[in-house]
């Protein structure tokens, strides 16, 4: 996925929030990233550092909370864990899985000053 655009999206959310909530510096950013969101954590950290240079989040720490991938198996009629988007059901081996969780890409909270 495209970590540079995502990092830019994060900075926009931070800047919007700074305007609304009146803060001038961000020291830590918590992200929730689903296991199936296709986000490379290392690439994300690198891009975040580049994008936030000279901004109010310059030098901020990026904390990533990984959310597990889950899917609904149409054969088993139950929620099963998924580790990849095109994965198979660990119970029955079917590919008829509908992803129900793990595609999140969210800014959860900030530590600001």
């Amino acid at each position: 996925m495209h970590e540079m655009s995502l990092a830019e999206g994060i900075l926009q959310l931070i800047e919007d929030s700074a305007r609304q909530q009146s803060f001038a510096r961000v020291s830590t950013v918590w992200l929730e990233i689903g296991q199936l969101a296709g986000v490379e954590v290392e690439a994300m950290k690198f891009c975040f550092d580049v994008v936030t240079r000279d901004s109010l989040a310059d030098g901020a720490r990026l904390e990533i909370i990984a959310l597990p991938g889950t899917g609904w198996c149409m054969q088993c009629s139950m929620t099963v864990p998924m580790t990849e988007v095109f994965g198979e059901c660990p119970q029955c081996g079917s590919h008829q899985l509908h992803v129900t969780g793990g595609t999140e890409m969210r800014v959860k909270e900030l530590e600001v000053a």
């Binding site: 540079m4 000279d54 999140e104």
Partner: protein, 318 residues
């Protein structure tokens, strides 16, 4: 987007839009780059941050208010955000979608690798739909307006978006281009995305469906190599099927891989060169366009917006 520093849609150009003013940015590490701005500048600055980029002109800065910054006193606090990273794009996409749905326009986001034959397929499609269906096109490429010119040669209106260093179209660019196209009601809007099987998957443009084009000269395992795109698409067009006799490409295997990622994906085999399969593709398009026109969302609010738009076009004083 500028991949040097991530500084917004720096080099985006849309046909017919005035060149934006440019200015230099100098970063703390000494790197300098140029970019132009949209006309709403709001810059966020840390209150105490050294501010190094020289501006050739004045524009409003929204500073965070100078609240208690007494030395030695920690003012750290937590702020809950709970917002999707792509929420800005998604808000623009929702606006585009509403605009399209209210006018009964069937919009498709065409995605593929570079060289899959998207533009040729589009030209052929427009030629075959002539007199049956009104088509407008938004073309996305990093550079040049060659594709939009190829489309305009068919007589269909087309707008080129050059994304500069950006690798995908976003909903804001498409919204601006839609404004320039003066779309006809109950028509078809084809948005040809930048050739890239990765990034466009994440960016909703407000389309009814994504259509992924896979040419048979590519690997049949592309759907599992680039699953996000094939998962996001409603329809897969297998293009260049006239070349199958010369290749080892297995159509059933490619379909199996695509359905592994997206069990519901529809598949049509086509050849823009020989016209094979084009009837099925045109039928799919006309079916979608008819459904979009039939379910046109005529609400009171929509009518009010239309009246306001038309009134704005009236000459002043009449």
């Amino acid at each position: 987007m500028c991949t040097t520093c991530g500084c917004g849609a720096g080099e985006v150009k849309i046909d017919g839009e005035h060149a934006h003013h440019e200015h230099d940015h100098v970063h703390a590490d000494g790197t300098t780059h140029k970019h132009d701005h949209d006309h709403d500048h709001d810059h966020e600055h840390a209150a105490a941050a050294a501010h190094e980029h020289p501006h050739a002109h004045a524009h409003p800065h929204s500073y965070a208010p100078a609240h208690s910054h007494a030395p030695g006193v920690s003012t750290k606090r937590m702020v809950q955000i709970e917002q999707d990273i792509l929420s800005k794009n998604n808000a623009y996409a929702a606006e585009n979608r509403q605009h399209l749905v209210e006018r009964g326009i069937f919009a498709l986001n065409l995605v593929s690798s570079p060289g899959s034959g998207k533009t040729t397929l589009l030209v052929k499609t427009i030629e075959m739909l002539e007199g049956r269906q009104h088509v407008a096109v938004i073309e996305g490429d990093q550079q040049t307006s060659q594709d939009a010119e190829r489309i305009r040669a068919t007589g269909a209106p087309a707008i080129q978006i050059n994304t500069g260093k950006g690798c995908h179209l976003d909903a804001h660019m498409v919204g601006r281009a839609m404004g320039k196209l003066e779309l006809t009601e109950d028509s078809l809007l084809m948005i040809e995305n930048v050739g890239n099987l990765v990034c466009p998957a994440a960016f909703d443009l407000g389309e009814a469906h994504k259509v992924v084009i896979l040419s048979v000269t590519e690997g049949e395992d592309k759907p599992i190599k680039y699953p996000d795109m094939f998962r996001a698409a409603t329809l897969m067009l297998m293009n260049k099927c006239d070349l199958l006799p010369h290749l080892t490409f297995s159509v059933p295997r490619a379909i199996e891989f695509a359905r592994r990622v997206n069990p519901a994906i529809e598949v049509i085999e086509v050849s823009a060169t020989t016209g094979q399969g084009m009837d099925a593709w045109l039928a799919w398009l006309e079916c979608g366009a008819a459904a979009a026109a039939a379910s046109k969302l005529v609400t009171v609010d929509a009518l009010k917006r239309r009246i306001a738009e038309l009134e704005a076009r009236l000459p002043q004083g009449s």
